[in-house]
Point group: C2
Chain length 758, copies 2
């Protein structure tokens, strides 16, 4: 398909103008991809379309998860596929290119940045060594590079499909990506094709293949190809023999200084990658690609409008939060090498354990059609591969951390009435998790320890992550009960609503710690509580370890993912019962004792702001009728941990999990995923307007909102008094207005009609 | 790499002469690939190197497992990848080509054969409709076609990567292959590249991709490409968009009538496929390719020499049996898209359930180095994917039928002292099967029902294939005990030698049938024997079914693979205890009762010659000191079921399982896989000489051998009296001679020193 040059030029001018005119008002300008890039955030900083498959970005050594590290760290090149905000071993970093200037005899062209500029959809840097400027933008499946070389220097470019992130010399090293194969072909004087095949990484996935087709707007004057340590000046192709391949290209010294490069990416084939360029970027105009990307984001971001007088910092924090929530999972529809391409296919659920709490609900609120697609993609994975994904990356399920949390995502879609999902099929998929043990594949999918869980009503100490798996499964069982009930499967409902109480089987009611009573604690298969737990399997030495609710350490020989609570303590997980907080309150000794428990949790720094298990905790005061305390905590947490700096996220963003937590709370809403309502808190934004799928709006506005007036005195939904500190999803999607009247003191508002429970 | 034309011509002449001179004496001429091609045998009839990756052959409709069906069935084309002797849903049938003559506007070029000639490494047919002659031979990874068109007709060729065997309109139909994607590119006037990506099939495997590179010795004069029902005359490539693609090529009407086509195949990439041609067939000489293939087979077949006076029929049956044993599994070393290519990789274990009994032992005897490679390939699969293969095809494990029989293969290698295998790693792999349930993946790998097996000592009725799984696992546990003992892992040995008795837990000792007593029968989880078994899961209706040891049927709503005994009856499986036949004898009521039991088994046709579970049964008279009766049964079975005709195999050859059973018995040997000895029977061959790896020979020769003298009267090993009807593998590999003195009556030979047991 070829657009005539005239049309392209016209389009370019037209779009160019639009940008010019609207630039200052556009919301995407508030997105700062650098927020959360340093410290623990690990966000992807390069250009990406919403849920975009291609994510070009610099790679600084092979170790960082997003590829990028701050200056003065050196850059090895720019690869086309990345993830955002992840922890553990890196994934992707495929099809690296690197501009350089010199001779075609050295694969390593590492350079240092003298400047770097990043905005939504745009990355730019200049290298110290050679003054080459690289600018990057991207379409969904093809990236675009504008490289400007200094005058009269050799315009050279490395294309390296042998590169990938997280390389480890140890074969099969845990969490490390491993090289399988790569290939490269100089197709013509303006085209190069090839692929990179890599396995492993954090999710220990099977091999995946990233195909590419690169096109240049200048003819290649000279090239060498590379394989396994050697350069070949007379071979235009290096076939895959399980060795690394690459090419060094030179576009010569003369003529224009700028080389434009389009890199189509595909998970099917090189020709499909070429087609992706033809469909998405049938021209050579960098600005059109950028404008199209900006436009896509603008459409999405503008579904939530903040009052004009919102501070720039808050606008940046909020829209960047929205942005980070919508760069993953990745839309690979039409790029599925495993089954048909006639249905939605998403990859990089990384992981649902992280994203089910607030990312999925935020997507549901902003873009419900997208969430339907994502849920259907999850169901398609179940249909073809047998289990729903928990983590999934590189076209392979893996790995599980706690629950089978896809069930929460499904229940959330169900209670929020998302249409276009086969919920009977979804229930089958949920039941597969809940009833068929994944056996030796428990790290890949399903519920590890399921047999014990079903037999004993809890997972006994000794099985990996027994503590958090038990309570997560109980919640997942509640999710199943929810869907079963709604579909009138009474027998299934009865069974699962009973299992939803299984967390209680690990509740050690007389156990005291830091002044609070009752904790989820280790129990053996015979039913004995364990104060001292045995680690290791030696038959002679039986070293023990005192287990307490605050414990975060474990002996050196117990792996991170084999602990009793994954990435958390009993203090955190004992509160992580999203479907039955009233019972936790009761078991904790009633409202006052629970309030003290929460206060201790936050004040004694037992709360971990950097991870997801306690995402709901700051709002839990709601269940004892004290939403004002929730608002205090939330404000405190945001103030101390979130900002617009590069360190502006307190933990791994985990595909936008941390960011969506922030965005929700800034609006004064927080979902309890899998349940049909949001908790209401003091918004950080004076007025927020949600554009709904129906075309209507829902406005959350405040009266007398000020720094001082930080408590909700009264609320009105569509003009009527609204005395509860939570609102149903249905009430929002109907459209209308929620007015929150603010005051400087806590009031009686929200103290009597408590949030729904099991 | 290019050989000079001179060298090629010289090589051609040289090899041509060699063939000329030796043709009549060469053993490969006794191979008739058509034996077992009709009826149930389902052998692959096209050319194949030993363990050859490429197996070109005609496809007659999309349903037959080997592609081929007898005339007058129509031929849709010739595809490059097939399997041999399999049952169930077909696999492969990729990269189909079809010569035709006409206009380039029709994808279907189905034709009928007027003649067909097949010999080892060579296939030839002439089509009725257009008189086109097609000849095929092959290298390991590239096939070679010589197509002769009638004078002055259009020399046309279809290349159809959209074709595959076992297509089913129902998405995800069980055992059906499903289309994922395909691609085609006309690269130059003599080259076409592309691939076919297919999933499913009998083993329900993930998608696999077969890449090709086709080269012609005439330039393409004209072409059209095809995608999804439409032809394109101006597009040289059709990229993968999840639709079927193809190309119709014309080499014109003029000039020479012959078109030669080389098709390189790869599981890595098209360029690797091209490289496979360059490495294997750097010329255009059909005869050199054929001669090279013949030579490879000759090297292997000549390791067993039969006495000159052996009848042509017996020579054909024997060498064809050897041939069929060595065309699968398939050597894909260097073609592994999943991990490294630096280690042995074999695919199409299809399935080990079929081949562990006699195919693996025969390969071990003829070509121990190859067996080491195969076992290492199995261990590499365990290392990278977590479980040993049971069935494996298209780069994916699946599916299991009975035991985790890779363990028997490993034990067999261990007891036969195969060097170059890490047996500590192998033991770990075996223990993974035996100790870690595959959960929801029980059809893919590992031991389904493992938890119950370990808890109860048997698999209770209601779990799929509970009967045969229990007794197969008990044998596999014996295999583990064998290796553990040899490696001095005493604790492991003790545990597993105990579990090796678990078959006894399903032995219902008072149950009588057809005059015999004691059978493996269904038992529920509470320990009750079941006379009537409930099928189905309805809560209201509880239809029952009377279970008897002869039952082969099951209610229509119970699937083939969910029955109590897979492909067999209790009569068969109750005898299938290869490690403890003396205990079966004792439980059956002693020697006489057991003899009667075996007699009834064969005479009342309870023995199923067409399947593997009873492979050892004819030899079981050995354990009651009556090897003469074993010999009688073997002779009877071979006479009535095996011959040189197209119907010459009584059941699915199952990758050579049936053929290896025959070849062993013709030599007078039969292995008890996993144990270090062979049973000795009356050979059908007067004298057999085995060339051993050490360079020595082992000869099995007879004295007074005749139709009448069908019993062994005495035996001498290296001149010394040898009074046992079994011989250790060690005794064979030392080299030497076993002389069997024959007589017309059974003697005392072999009646006292019974074969080894647990």
């Amino acid at each position: 398909m070829k657009l005539s040059t005239k049309i392209i030029v016209f389009l370019g001018i037209a779009l160019g103008c639009t940008i010019e005119i609207n630039a200052q008002n556009q919301l995407h300008n508030y997105v700062d991809p650098m927020i959360g890039s340093e410290g623990d955030g690990r966000v992807f900083i390069g250009p990406s379309c919403p849920y975009g498959m291609v994510k070009p970005s610099p790679d600084c050594t092979v170790s960082p998860n997003s590829g990028w590290l701050p200056m003065p760290k050196e850059v090895t090149g720019f690869s086309q596929v990345h993830v955002s905000g992840t922890g553990g071993g890196p994934k992707y970093g495929n099809i690296q290119i690197m501009p350089f200037s010199g001779t075609l005899d050295k694969l390593d062209q590492t350079s240092h940045r003298v400047e770097e500029n990043v905005k939504l959809g745009y990355y730019q840097t200049v290298f110290k060594e050679n003054q080459i400027k690289t600018e990057i933008t991207t379409a969904e499946k093809a990236s675009f590079y504008r490289i400007t070389y200094p005058k009269n220097t050799s315009k050279d470019l490395k294309i390296d499909p042998g590169f990938f992130l997280g390389e480890n010399p140890e074969p099969n090293a845990r969490e490390a990506q491993q090289f399988v194969g790569s290939q490269i072909e100089i197709v013509s004087d303006t085209e190069v094709r090839g692929y990179s095949r890599i396995r492993g990484g954090w999710n220990n996935g099977r091999a995946y293949t990233v195909y590419f087709w690169a096109v240049f707007d200048l003819p290649i004057a000279k090239y060498v190809t590379y394989k396994d340590g050697k350069f070949y000046s007379n071979q235009s192709a290096q076939f895959d023999s399980g060795k690394k391949t690459a090419a060094l290209l030179s576009f010569g010294n003369d003529g224009k200084q700028e080389v434009n490069v389009k890199i189509g990416i595909s998970f099917l084939s090189e020709l499909k990658a070429k087609n992706n360029i033809e469909v998405e970027i049938p021209h050579w105009n960098f600005n059109i690609v950028l404008a199209s990307l900006e436009n896509k984001w603008e459409q999405l971001l503008s579904r939530i409008k903040l009052s004009e007088d919102t501070s720039i910092d808050y606008k940046k924090m909020f829209y960047t939060g929205l942005y980070h929530t919508m760069i993953m999972p990745v839309n690979r529809t039409g790029e599925n090498p495993l089954w048909t391409n006639d249905e939605p296919y998403y990859d990089d659920f990384y992981c649902i354990w992280d994203t089910f709490r607030s990312s999925s609900p935020l997507i549901t609120l902003v873009d419900p059609k997208r969430q339907v697609e994502i849920v259907n993609a999850m169901l398609n994975i179940y249909k073809r591969e047998g289990y729903l994904p928990e983590g999934r990356s590189g076209n392979d399920n893996g790995r599980t951390q706690g629950g089978s949390n896809a069930e929460t995502v499904i229940a959330d879609a169900f209670v929020k009435n998302l249409k276009g999902i086969d919920y009977e099929l979804a229930l089958k998929a949920m039941l597969k998790d809940a009833e068929v043990s994944p056996g030796g594949n428990a790290e890949k999918e399903g519920r590890g320890g399921l047999n014990e869980y079903l037999k004993l009503g809890y997972i006994p100490y000794g099985i990996d992550r027994a503590g958090n798996r038990t309570i997560d499964y109980a919640y997942n069982d509640y999710n199943i009960a929810t869907v079963a009930k709604g579909l009138n499967h009474t027998e299934i409902y009865k069974r699962y609503i009973k299992q939803a109480d299984y967390w209680q089987n690990l509740w050690r009611s007389d156990y005291e710690n830091n002044g609070s009573k009752g904790f989820i604690m280790p129990k053996d298969a015979a039913g004995n509580w364990l104060d001292e737990v045995v680690f290791g399997e030696s038959k002679i030495q039986k070293p023990t370890f005192r287990y307490t609710p605050t414990i975060t350490e474990s002996p050196w020989y117990v792996c991170h993912w084999c602990v009793y609570f994954y990435e958390g303590t009993s203090w955190e997980y004992s509160l992580s019962i999203p479907h039955d907080i009233p019972e936790v309150v009761r078991k904790s000794g009633g409202d006052l004792a629970f309030q003290k428990r929460l206060d201790t949790f936050f004040d004694a720094k037992l709360y971990d702001v950097s991870n997801e298990p306690s995402f709901l905790a700051p709002t839990m005061y709601h269940w004892i009728g004290k939403p004002s305390l929730s608002s205090d905590r939330i404000k405190e947490i945001i103030t101390h941990n979130f900002n617009t700096s590069r360190n502006g996220l307190p933990g791994n963003d985990d595909s936008g999990a941390m960011s969506s937590w922030l965005a929700f709370h800034m609006m004064g809403l927080y979902p309890n995923a899998g349940q049909p309502y949001y908790l209401l808190n003091t918004p950080l934004i004076k007025e927020t307007t949600l554009a709904l799928e129906s075309g209507k709006n829902f406005k959350i506005s405040t009266k007398k909102w000020s720094t001082k007036n930080k408590y909700i005195k009264a609320a009105f939904l569509n003009g009527k008094p609204f005395n509860q500190a939570w609102i149903l999803h249905d009430d929002i999607v109907k459209g209308g207005e929620l007015i929150l009247e603010m005051d400087s003191k806590p009031s009686a508002w929200g103290t009597t009609i408590l949030p729904p429970t099991k």
